[in-house]
Symmetry: C2
Subunit: 397 residues, 2 copies
Amino acid sequence: MSSETKTDNSHLNGEERTSAFTHKMVRLEDGLSLECGEHIPLLEIAYCTYGQLAPARDNAILICHALTGDQYVAEKNPLTGKPGWWSRMVGPGKPIDTDRFFVICSNVLGGCLGTTGPTSLRAEAGAAWDSDFPQITMNDIVAAQVKLIDHLGIGRLFAVVGGSMGGMQALTWIARYSDRVFAALPIATSPYHSAQNIAFNEVSRQAIFADPDWHKGRYRDFGAIPARGLGVARMMAHITYLSEEALNRKFGRRVRQAGVTLDTFLFGEMFEVESYLRHQGSTFVRRFDANSYLTITRAMDYFDLSADFGGDLSLPFKDCRTRICVVSFSSDWLFPTSQSRVLVRALSRAGANVSFVEIESDRGHDAFLLEEPDLDRTIHGFLDGAAEHAGLKKVQN
Amino acid sequence: MSSETKTDNSHLNGEERTSAFTHKMVRLEDGLSLECGEHIPLLEIAYCTYGQLAPARDNAILICHALTGDQYVAEKNPLTGKPGWWSRMVGPGKPIDTDRFFVICSNVLGGCLGTTGPTSLRAEAGAAWDSDFPQITMNDIVAAQVKLIDHLGIGRLFAVVGGSMGGMQALTWIARYSDRVFAALPIATSPYHSAQNIAFNEVSRQAIFADPDWHKGRYRDFGAIPARGLGVARMMAHITYLSEEALNRKFGRRVRQAGVTLDTFLFGEMFEVESYLRHQGSTFVRRFDANSYLTITRAMDYFDLSADFGGDLSLPFKDCRTRICVVSFSSDWLFPTSQSRVLVRALSRAGANVSFVEIESDRGHDAFLLEEPDLDRTIHGFLDGAAEHAGLKKVQN
């Protein structure tokens, strides 16, 4: 095992490729055995930490990131130059208070920001995995996190927190490793991917496959990236992250002047929402790998906690002792409140200690990433109460 | 002017290309002047009719089709071999009763089933318009229908009926030609395209542009069609036509065995909803032209009845004397009830004769095409009452 900062980011373009990564790395030579039966011989996990691990090693919070998130929760992202994706939530005196808690976030297995994934070098082959990377599941993603926690010498996490796909990981933790998690906050998530969720992901994948630069996943051998397909995938996904109200408020039907080119003009104008989506698509392809996108979206689609229990969603939580707070947003139509209610009912049937908060917001799924004071209060309050029950020391003022 | 059945369908593949069209054609040598300032020198309109025009010429109903619809409302579609898209609604003794009414449906301007559009031969050039086809608007689409109605010698339509984009045409009729329409039924539609509507259409277009067979719209010169891009566009659009509930009921998370190929397998399986969407995409590209798709989706995006009235949606209906029944479906998230309410309030402010029915259905936007007895009763009842007010003769039994 070693801590290092290098990672293979040759799938990235231009200036990003030269950026210095500031995350920590753990290199696990025993690898990881996957649910599909394959074994990854070398498992590397890239992660960031904030705050100090208490001597009792009882104050660690694992934050699980979403589909296109990363480990840069609360510091400048070296790829994009932007603040960490949850800087407003994590830090000294913030709802997830790094004066009190030791916060860990690792890039997910299958990702493209340092943790073993399609862009990683395959030790025995001397080349990247690319499209040969095996199909992973949410259980595999969490199993890699367990190895990290073991490596850090943490027997039990104080909490696991995650939104969207991060929430799926939080749910997997409490379903499979409940004795290792005191509290959990699954936010804007679902215990299974619905037919509509799968449908949108499938269209994303088809958009990538339709790109001539896809080359059946061997695009790096051709010095190419399927940027157009991946861009379309991201544009479509981005619509699902926002509510109709948010889009209307943000853009409405406002138009801007556009160069009169074949694919942009409508009386020489284009709608602002079109311009915005194109920007979303084009910036995304500079920071994300297409094979990672395919690998992780499939893991999401396959996610269904009740699958191994004959469809009974209470059974995976039968022995769950974790304190749980489920959070949904009223205008989230990707992971609607109705899915959270199904989850909460199942947890209740299992006798779990669960509370549920639906936050009124008109900003859709992405609300969990945005300025939502009710979310701040919910997270802070829940963690504070749980810390008291766990007997954690208060911050010295 | 002449009636004929030939049309240019060389954008279609295989067996479809040899199918005999059964629609009527009108050829208008004075063409059509468009809102963008261009003039189409030759306007051809392909249409179907059902029932008999009464001697008083007062029983005509114009049905306006949706984005990917066509004129084959109530007879076998010669391209697909399937029954007409509204066979269950239109026919003898049906809610739109062809024993009583003379029903007309024309392929929209910009379409690809016989009416002048990108695939039509450009008289002066000796070749098809393809991507040179000018950008049309909903006003242009309706102006072409007005020419057809003039040609048929009909001074005033008894009714205009349409769902989705067909509803936009119905609204355009009553905003611009109210004196020529006694009654109107805009169904599952909106007086403007919202930011979310535009966003989905824009992703569709980007998917087409990303296809290497797109060739900047000159694909027919290359003997190609952008089938993959158009397929992705259709797959995505199809998700928006269905509700989450409908997708769950129809497919849930059921899987089927799939050949283990790079782009389909997940432990050798694929979800049924994936298979269904792929089928939707691949059959669509055999019957629809990509340039038509681009042209018509842009016309939809540009649709906003209040645009010329400083955003006041009541003004276009100021002198409206048409009897109107607005219909929405509770689970339609593409054209949600909230948009119909905005329309109904504007019509009320304008002093129009408007009623409004929200039909409870969990089948989403496509409900207007499906077996929904409440819709049948609403349409039949509204038309029956309007016919009485219009002094139309009852059917002889």
